[in-house]
Symmetry: D4
Subunit: 249 residues, 8 copies
C-alpha cells in the first residue's frame, strides 16, 4: 500500500464507505513490506530512529540486494553486516554509492545526514590485532548511527601499561565497548578503571580451549567489575548498536 | 592513614623532610584499607560515586560485619548482596539501622541521601513469579543507587497480552531490565518493542534442559533484537548497577 | 520373494507340503529387500501409509539411486531429503520425473495421488529469511504426505507486530510448525497465542553462542508455553512428518 | 473487575458517559488479575479450554494457595504440578477437595466435569520403574484435561519382548507418550512400531554419563524413527498437555 | 639388533666378556626401533600376537611408508587405518601387494597366514547405510586379526522387524559389534536380545543435536542392557581389535 | 501363570479345546510377571543364565522388596545394586539370608550354587583408595555370577612401580577390569601391558575439572591402547557383568 | 621390610643362600607398604624429597589415620589435604602434635626440620576474600615443603590499583601463585607484569556462568600472557607443590 | 622516541625547559610503538629478557612483516609462531636471514647471541608422531630463548617400555615438557617418575570423543601426579616459554 492508497482508504473511513474495522486491519499490516522471503520493516525507523539493519549471513546476494533496494525506496540510510565481497558486488547494482569495509564486512549507504550525538564519545577498545574486524564492525555501526567514536586497539592485559597510559581516553568516554578474544580479561580491567557503562564483546580469536570464543564469553559474564553488559561472540554490530542507544539517551 | 597523618606527611614533603619518593609510595597505597582477609576500597566512592558493594557469598558473617563497619567509618551508604539472614544478624551489630530484603537477600544501610536521578525511570520486567528474587535484587540495587524504578512482574511470553497491555510503561522507561528464566524469550520480545537499552538477566529458574540458567543465558546472548546487553545468571545486582550507570549518564 | 512365490508357499502350507514353521520364518522376513548396503522397507507403506523416506546424507549418489529405484518398483511415491544436486542428477536416471527443491534439498517423485487431508491446514511459520531452507523442507514434506500447508515466513519476535498481524492465519491452522534459529523465542510466543499443537524446529542459523543451534534448541525445550514438541536441529523433515501424522488423525 | 462492573462500564459506553478509549483500555486489561507477585490469566480458559496450570516450583506455598484461590473464584478446575506436600497442605485451606498424587507431585481440584475426549486413547509408556513419577504426571495431566489414558510401564528395550507383547495396546492408541531415562532408546523403538504421533519425555533417571537426563534427551532428539516430538527433561506435564491438544483435534 | 647379534651378546655375558649391566641395558632397548619421528614396536607381536597397527591420521604418507617398511622387515602382517588414498599410493612403493578398502580407509598387507580363530564368529551389526565405513573398518580389523566375521547391516531400530528377523545370526555369534550413529539405540536392543559381549561403536553419523557422535556415545554408555562396552566415536578399529581379543580367549 | 496352569493350557491345545491363537498369545506373555510398577523378567535366567539384577536407585525399599520376593519365588539367586542400608533392611524381610556390602552398596542372596567359571580369573584393578566402592561393586558382581576374581587396588600411575611390580597378576588374568577416577590414565597403561580384554570403569572420584567423572571417561574412550571397552561412570556392576560374559565364553 | 631385614637378605644374596631372582622380586616390592585399601609409598621420599601427601577426600577418617600412622613410622613429616574436622580428630589419635588449618582444610605434622629453600620467595596472590581457602592450601603446602612464602590477598582486577601498588612484592618473588575465581583475569595481568613463572589456580568461587570454576579455568588456559601454567580448579595443593619444585631447582 | 631524543628531553627537564608533567607523559608512553593496528612492546625485552613474540594467527602477512620489521629495528631476536608459509615469504622481505620450521610453523631470526642457560636441560617428551608439530614448537621456543633442549618422541603409554627405557634422560632434565593428545595419560606417568616440574601440553590430536583436545586437557588437569602445570591445547610455544622461565631461575 502506497501513500495514495492510504489516503484513499482514510477518506473512505471519513465518508463511512470503509468500515473502521477493515481500516484498522489494513493499517495494522502497514509496517512491513512482504517480499515473500522477507518482511521488510519500514515502520522500524519511526519506532527506533534507524531502519532495519540487514544481517547478510544466510541470505543470498540477490536477497540482500532486493532488501536494500526496498529500504532505499523509503529514503533510508543502510547498514548491512556480515557481508562478503560478492554480496557487496551485488548491492552495488542497487546502490552505486555503497561503501564496503573489508575487515568489518560491512556495507554502508548514506542517503540522509544522521543527527549527530553531540560531544558524547563512544570508545572502542580492543585487546589484540586479531580482534580488529569485530572492533571495526562496532565502530562503523556506532558511527553510522550518528555517534562520535574513538578507538584504542591492541591494549590487551598482557602488557597492561599500554592500557594504563591511555586512561585519559577511557575516562572521557561516555560509553566504552571492549572487544577481546582469548581470555577476554580486558573487560574486567577496563570496568574497574571507569564508572561508565561497558559493553563487552567476546571474540572467537584464539585456539584450543578458547572453544570458539566461549572462554572470553564466560570471562566477561563473570566479570568481577560491575557495570559490564555482554553481547554475543563476535557481535560487533550488537555492541555498536547498544552503545548508540545508551549514548543517545 | 587518616587526614591528619596525610597533612603531616605532605608538609614534610614541602619542607624537604620527606622525600618525594616515599610520599608517592604512601599516597599510592591510600585508596584501600588492608584488613588482611580483604582490602576495602575507600577510594572507590571518589572514582565511581558509590562505595564498594559487599558480595557476601563465600565470606563469613564476621568478615562481612567487619567490612561493613570499615565502610561505615567512611560515612558511606552500604549495599550488601547475597546475604543470608545470619549475615544480616551479624551486620546488625555494626549497623542497627540495616534493612534486610529476604527475597532479594540484600542488606541496605542508608547514611546519606543519594542524589536522585531525576525523572528518568528504570523499569524492571520479570517473566514469572519465580524470577522475583533476582528482579528484586535488581530493583533494590538501582533504588539504593538513587534511581526511580518501576516494576512489571509475571509477564512472560506464554501470555503475551500481559506484556502488550503494558507497553506504555515500557515506552516511558529510560532503561529496561528484563529478568527471565526457563527459555528467557522475554528479552527479545521487549527488545523488539522499544528503542531503549535493555539489560537482560537470565535466571536459574527452570529444570531439566535449562541447565541452571544456561538456556536463558544463550537465548539472551543470541537475541534477534538489537540493543540487549546480558549479565551473568541470577546477577540482579549487576543489572541494577549497569542500569544505574546508564540512567545517570 | 514376489507375489507368485508367496502364493505358492501359502498353498504349500494349506496342503501340508510346507511346514508352518518355515512359512512363518519366510513371511517374517518379507517386509524388506536386502540390498547389501541397505534393507529397503517395503512393508512400511502398509504400516504407516507412506513409504520409507530416503535420507541422503552419508549415502553415495549411486546408493540413493538404487534405493529410489527399488522403492519405485513398488509403485511408491518418493521423498528424499538432504539431497545435494549431484544426488539429484543421479536419481534422474532412475526417475526422470523427479523434482528438486534446491533450498530444501529435497527430491520428490509423485507416482500416485496422495489422499488429501481435507480442509485441515498445517501452518509453517519461520523467524527469519535464513531459516527458509528448513521451513521449506518441512513444507514439502507435509505437502508430499498429502496435507494442505500455508506459510508465514520472517516473523521473528524482534518485530512482533509482523506476527501479531497474522494471528488469524495461526488460529485457523490445525497444527503449527515453528522454525527458528538464533534464540528461537518464536516457538514460545506462538505457543502462547494458540491452543493447537506446535512443532518447534530449532535451526543452526546464528553464530557465536548459538553453538550450531544449541541455543534455539534449549529455548524451545524450555518453552514456558505448553503444547510445544521439539525435533532435532534443522530437522524440517521430522517436523513435517510429525505434523502430518497429527493432521491426519 | 467482576461481571457487574463490566456490565456497568459497557452501559456507560452505550450512554456515552464512558469514552470508548477508556473502555478499550479497561477491557484490554481484563484477561488477567494482577496479584502483585503474579498475573493470573483468567482469559486463558476462554482461549484454550483449560485454565492456567500452576507450576509450583519456585513459588511459596502461600503464593500457590492464593493463585489457586483466585482461579477457583472463576469456577475453574485446577491442576498444580511440582507440588511438594507442604504446598498441598497449604492448598487444602483454599480447596478442601484437592487431591494429591505423591509420586507425580500433582494437585487436582475438579469443580466442573471436563468434556470427554471420546474413545480416543492416549497411551503412556515408560521404560523403567524409576520413570514412574514423570509418567504419572503425564497421565494425570492428560486425564485432568479430559482424555482417556492407558499405561504400559517398565517396558524398556533391554527386555524388548515386554514391549513387543503389548503392541496391540500401542496400535490402538491415538497418541503415545514415551517416558524414559538412561539411554532413552524406547522412543525410537516405539516410533518405529506405530504410525501415530509420539511425544517423548526424557527423564533424569540414571547416573554418570546420563548427565541429568541429557543422554536421554539427545537420544530422543536424534531418533531415527520419524514422528517423534520431544519435551523438556522430566516434563511429564508438558507431554500430557501436548498429547491432549493432539488427541482433541 | 637381529637374532645373531643377540646371541653373540648373550654368549659374551656367559663368558664374562660382556658385563651384565650393559647386557641388561641393551636388552631393555630391544623392543622398539627408534626412527626419530617414531619408535616402532617390534616387541609388540611377541607380547600380543599381532604387530603394531599403524594409525595414519596426522602422519605424512612418507612417515607411514617408512613405518610400514620397518614392520615388513620383521615379516609382519600390516594393518593401517585412517589411510587416505594418497597414503595408500605411497605405501604401495614399500608393499606392492597392499590392499586398500576405500570405505573403511584401511590398508592391509598379508605376509603370513594368521592362525584362524576356529568356528567362533564375530558379528558386526550396523544401524544404517551411512554407518558402513565404520562397520567395515571393524570387519576388516577383525578379519585381518584372523577371525571369522559375519555382517548384518542397516537394521536400525526404526524398523525393528529387520533386526528381529535376524536374531538367529545374533544368537550364534560369540561376540557382537554394534555400530550406530544418530541416537545409537541399537546397542541396547541387541544387548537385551543376547547373552554375549557387545562392543558398541558410536558413529558421527547424524546432524544437529547428534553433536558429532556425542548423542550415540552417551546412549551407549547409559545402555539399560548389561554387557555392553563402548569404544570411541567412529573407532571401528578399536571395536574389531577388542572383539578379536575376546573371541580368541 | 505357574507350571500347572501352563501344562493345563498346553493339554487344552492338544485336545483342540484351546485355540492355537490364544495359546500363542498366552505363551508370548509368559516371560515376565507384571507387578504394576514393574515387569519382572523371569525368562531372563533362561536366556542369559542369570536372573534380572535389581537396580535399586529410584525405587522405593518396598518396591525392591517385592521384586526380590518375586524373583526368589523362582528360586533365583539375587543381586541388587545401588542399595542403601534402608533398602537392605527392607529386603531382609523377604530374604533373611541376604548379605550386604556397605562400600559397594550391593545385596546378594545365594540360593543355588553358581556353576564355577573354572580357572579363568578376572582381575579388578583400581587406581586409588577412593575408587574402592566401584571396584568392589565390580568384584561382587563378577563373583556372584560365578567367576574367580583377584584384586589389585591403589596402583594409580602416579607411582607406576606399584603397578609394574604386579604385572604377573595382570598377565595371568583372562579379563581385566580397570577402575579409575581423576584422570583415568590407568586404563591405557594396563591396556598397553597386556593382550587381554580390558573393561575400563571411570569413576566420579575427583574434583574441579574432573566434572563428575567426565575427565576419566574421556581418557578411557580415547585410550591410545587398543583393546579397551568402556562402561558408564561408576558402573562397577556393568563392568563386572561384561567381564563375566567374556570370562565364561 | 625394615633395614635389618634388607641387610639380612642382601647378605643372603652374597652368600648364595638367597637366589638373585627372589632378591630382585623382594626389592622391587620395597617401595610401598600394601595396606589392602592403600599402597603407602615409602620410597617416594627418597625419590622426591617429600613423602606421599595424603588426599583425604573419599577416604574414611580411619583410613586416613592408618595411612598417617604408617607414614609416621618412617619418621616422615605429614601433609594431609581436603581434611574435614572429623578426619583431624581421628588423626590426632595417631599424631597428637598434628596441626589443623580450618580454612585450608589441611593437617600438618612436623617431625623433622625441612631444609630451607634459602631466600627465594614464593608469592601467593589471590583475587578475592572468598578465594582464601584455596590460597591458604597453597601457602601451607609450600611452607610445609620448606619454602618462604609471602601472600597478597584480595587484589582482583576490578580495583587494579590494589595490585599495581604491590608490584614490588611481585617482582621480588621467584615463583608466583595466582588464585582467582569468577572470571580469573588476575593471572593474565600478573603474568604480564613479571618475568617469573606463574602458577594459576582457578577456584570454584562464583555463580551462574562460572559453572563451578570452568570460567576461571578457561580464562587461565587462554591467558594472553606467556609463562602461565594452570592446575585443576581449587587445587591449591597442586600449585603449592609445583611452585615448590620450581623454587628449589 | 630514540635514545638521543630521550636524552634531549631529560636535559630539558634538568634545565627547567621541559615541564616535569610533559616529561612524565612522554616517558609513560615509551614502552610501545603504536602502529595503528598494533602496539609493539619495545619495553618488553627490558622487563623480561626477550622481546615480544609474534603470534601470527589472525594477522595478515603484511601486519606480521611490519611488526617484525619494527622489532628488528630495536636489534631484537625474533620468534614468530603459528606462521603459514605465505607469512614466512612476506617476512623474508624484512629479514632475509629468517629461518622457517614447517612442522612447528615458527619463524626465527637470530641477530644477537642469547645468553646460554648453562648445563640445565629442558626435555621435550611427546606421546605420538602426530604430536610432533606441537613438540617442535616447544623445542624451538625453548632453544630460541637460549636453553639446551633434548627430545624424546613417540613414547606414549600404550607401549610404556619405550618410556621406561629412557628414564635416565628424564631424570637428568631440569624441566620436562610433556606433549600428548588422545587421552594425554603420558603427563601423569612422567610426573610420577620424576621430581622436577612438568609442563603438560594437551594436543588436538585424536578424533571423536577427544573433542579437539578437551580429553587430553582434562586428563592433564586432573593428573594424580603432583607437580604438573598445564597450558592451552596445542600451545607448544607457551610450554617452551614457561619452561624457559623456570630453567633460567
Amino acid at each position: 500500500m502506497d501513500e495514495t492508497e492510504l489516503r484513499g482508504m482514510l477518506e473512505g473511513v471519513r465518508s463511512g464507505r470503509v468500515p473502521v474495522d477493515s481500516a484498522v486491519s489494513e493499517i495494522k499490516k502497514l509496517p512491513y513490506k512482504d517480499m515473500g522471503f522477507a518482511k521488510v520493516d519500514h515502520h522500524r525507523e519511526i519506532r527506533t530512529g534507524f531502519p532495519e539493519v540487514v544481517f547478510c549471513q544466510g541470505k543470498t546476494p540477490e536477497q540482500v540486494r532486493m532488501i536494500v533496494g526496498e529500504l532505499l525506496n523509503g529514503g533510508s540510510n543502510i547498514l548491512a553486516t556480515r557481508a562478503d565481497r560478492n554480496v557487496y558486488d551485488e548491492v552495488l547494482k542497487a546502490a552505486p554509492d555503497a561503501e564496503y569495509n573489508a575487515a568489518a564486512r560491512t556495507i554502508v549507504v548514506r542517503r540522509r545526514p544522521g543527527e549527530p550525538s553531540g560531544d558524547k564519545v563512544i570508545c572502542v577498545v580492543s585487546a589484540g590485532t586479531s580482534d580488529m574486524p569485530v572492533a571495526e564492525e562496532a565502530r562503523i555501526t556506532a558511527e553510522t548511527l550518528g555517534n562520535k567514536v574513538e578507538t584504542l586497539y591492541d591494549v590487551g592485559v598482557a602488557g597492561i601499561h599500554r592500557l594504563l597510559s591511555n586512561t585519559d581516553l577511557l575516562q572521557k568516554a561516555n560509553v566504552i565497548i571492549v572487544v577481546a578474544g582469548m581470555e577476554g580479561a580486558l573487560a574486567s580491567v577496563v570496568g574497574g578503571l571507569v564508572d561508565k557503562p561497558v559493553i563487552a564483546v567476546p571474540t572467537s580469536v584464539g585456539y584450543g580451549a578458547s572453544f570458539g570464543g566461549l572462554s572470553a564469553l564466560l570471562t566477561m559474564l563473570n566479570s568481577c567489575a560491575s557495570g559490564v553488559g555482554v553481547v554475543n561472540i563476535d557481535n560487533g554490530f550488537g555492541a555498536g548498536y547498544l552503545a548508540s542507544l545508551i549514548n543517545r539517551l
